[in-house]
């Protein structure tokens, strides 16, 4: 299919109208770091391209009541440099900084990373750990959906053809809460993650784990939570013993999930090291 038309709306409503009109024949482009490649390789096709990179309202990071909202068109470079996210949201910044290279981070967007739903998407695990909620605009208005429910399979999301992801939001982190991120890539830049793990942690007054949410990437058909391990940690002190036991539980989970895959032997072993570092970062960040 040849590309016949490219539209560059400047408002969300305009984009929705275009999507509503062209439906399946159209594709949304933001940074283009995934779409351009798959168009060139013939993996996807579209006769109409709707370029949302000029929609200003998609490019803001804002604090609203006790929520942080990141526009779908915000680039990873912007996330890395966002004053609002420094220190406390180190886990989120680490994830954004680990995406591709400076050139890719300048173009690629948070919304693109989410909607592309790659199993190796670096930004999805920290958002899952933060229990992020997506705000989606359509011709019938605005709806909200949990990120966890939005991603339905590898590369598949619960987004209709006439809908647009507008922003992703999550609850502000408090003093005793922290987010950690760690990624195993085969080199220091331009590395697709072999494993990436993000840990959200809430520590109680008596230094125990009050709540924990663990999300992994590249360990399943899409980014996902590790509920068994999370439940083990709840109410327990974070000692080297409990972390060791938790890591072993994670190994079992990963082993069961990846059974039959050639990467299982490596990943079930390596995930323990990757998780331990992410957890320690979460502990550290919860003190900020």
């Amino acid at each position: 299919m040849e590309i016949n038309e490219v539209f560059k709306p400047s408002k969300v409503e305009e984009a929705i109208k275009l999507l509503d009109h062209y439906q399946e024949t159209s594709k949304i482009i933001a940074g283009g770091t995934d779409l351009i490649i798959s168009l060139r390789e013939g993996k996807e096709s579209a006769s109409v391209i709707i370029d949302i990179s000029s929609i200003k309202e998609l490019k803001e990071i804002t604090k609203r009541e006790d929520w942080i909202e990141i526009g779908a068109g915000v680039t990873f470079t912007k996330v890395v440099n966002a004053t609002m996210l420094q220190e406390k949201y180190k886990g989120l910044i680490d994830a954004a900084a680990s995406v591709g290279s400076p050139q890719i981070r300048n173009a690629a967007t948070v919304g693109g990373n989410i909607c592309n739903a790659s199993p190796a998407a670096d930004f999805i695990p920290p958002l899952l750990a933060l229990e992020a909620v997506l705000v989606i605009a359509g011709s019938n208005g605005i709806r909200e959906i949990k990120l966890n429910d939005f991603i339905t399979d590898k590369g598949k999301v619960a987004l209709s053809k006439n809908e647009l992801l507008v922003k992703v939001k999550f609850k502000e982190l408090k003093r005793n809460q922290g987010l950690g991120f760690n990624k195993l890539g085969l080199r220091k830049a331009l590395a697709i993650s072999r494993i990436c793990t993000s840990v959200y942690l809430e520590i109680s007054e008596d230094s125990k784990c009050r709540d924990m949410r663990i999300a992994n990437g590249s360990l399943g058909r899409h980014g996902l939570r590790e509920k068994v391990v999370e439940n083990y940690f709840k109410g327990k002190p974070l000692t080297s013993e409990t972390i060791e036991i938790g890591s072993q539980l994670l190994e079992e989970e990963v082993n069961n999930r990846l059974q039959g895959r050639s990467s299982a032997e490596f990943k079930r072993e390596a995930v323990k090291g990757v998780f331990t570092v992410a957890l320690n970062k979460a502990i550290e960040n919860s003190r900020l």
Binding site: L184, R187, A189, S263, E265, F266, E269, A270, G273
Partner: protein, 314 residues
């Protein structure tokens, strides 16, 4: 846990095609009618700096400023064959051919100055335009041919002169191995490189950086992933080479021990700077975690497996 280790490896490398294969470089040095020196040579610049150092050699041999050299290469319709930019041979072989051609041209210019003008001088630079105008539209040209010394091995006796000259190199490399993930990080490196004579030290440092990155990729990253005869890693998203962030700082020690047959003592270092990198990394891994890896690349997957085997005491 992260464990550090240090490893060394050294190598000696024979320059040129070798084993009796004809290894000839040709060059032409010309005094153009505009008073500039034109060097015509088939040597190919592939980023290694051939244009720069071959121009330096011409300037040195002629006794003129670098800026009066016009270097013309990579055009087979007007340049003589100087062989391939391979086998680390251009500095030594083509450098020699250019030096010969340039020396002949210089001698001819000195002769002309004596015979025609009665000037006996070593400083030809000031008279280039004057000499150039003598022949009208005809430029003064001299050629230089250099043939490398190599003989085929005698199959009966095993004797022969496969290569000449040899270049020597040693690497010391420090790694940090994450024993929980199998990730190897090269944290520091030192390279001692015999160069004969450093025609251009900056370019040698550049060659060391380039060779090191290739050796680093060869040692721990670059995997074609051959499965049933098919290359699975058939593009650079899967066939990983090092990025700038993967490179450590390299302490470079340039060792000058002039080679009598080289142009101003220089030898080729293109490949020599690469050869010892991967073995030094593997030795450093052994030093760090006590595992002797015998297959490259040492990916985290392979190393973690080997560490597990060692742990179980198999």
């Amino acid at each position: 846990m992260k464990k550090r280790g240090i490893g060394y490896a050294s190598t000696f490398y024979g320059t040129g095609y070798g084993n009796g294969f004809p290894d000839i470089s040709r060059a032409i040095a010309e005094l153009g009618t505009d008073g500039n020196i034109y060097i015509y040579v088939g040597a190919t610049e592939v980023g290694q700096g051939a244009k720069t150092i071959l121009s330096q050699i011409a300037a040195e041999a002629l006794g003129v400023d670098f800026s009066s050299i016009v270097f013309i290469c990579e055009d087979t319709s007007i340049t003589p064959d100087a062989g391939t930019a391979a086998a680390s041979r251009q500095t030594y072989n083509t450098g020699n051919a250019i030096k010969l051609a340039s020396e002949k041209l210089r001698n001819e210019i000195i002769n002309i100055l004596e015979k025609r003008y009665g000037i006996s001088t070593e400083n030809i630079e000031d008279y280039l335009l004057q000499v150039a105008k003598l022949n009208g539209d005809e430029a003064l040209r001299m050629d230089g041919i250099f043939t490398a010394s190599t003989t085929e091995m005698d199959a009966e006796t095993g004797q022969g002169n496969p290569y000449y000259p040899y270049t020597f190199s040693v690497y010391g490399i420090e790694v940090e191995v994450d024993t929980t993930t199998g990730i190897v990080e090269v944290t520091k490196a030192v390279c001692g490189q015999d160069v004969g004579r450093a025609i251009n030290p900056k370019l040698i440092e550049g060659q060391i950086d380039g060779g090191f990155s290739m050796g680093l990729g060869y040692g721990i990253m670059e995997d074609i992933n051959l499965q049933s005869g098919r290359i699975k890693h058939d593009r650079f998203t899967s066939y990983l080479i090092p990025t700038a962030l993967d490179m450590p700082d390299i302490d470079k020690i340039i060792i000058e021990e002039p080679e009598a047959t080289g142009p101003y003592g220089a030898k080729g270092i293109g490949e020599p700077v690469l050869v010892a990198v991967a073995p030094a990394i593997l030795n450093a891994i052994y030093n760090a975690v006590g595992v002797r890896m015998k297959e490259i690349p040492v990916t985290p997957e392979r190393l973690l497996k080997a560490l597990k085997v060692k742990e179980r005491g198999v």
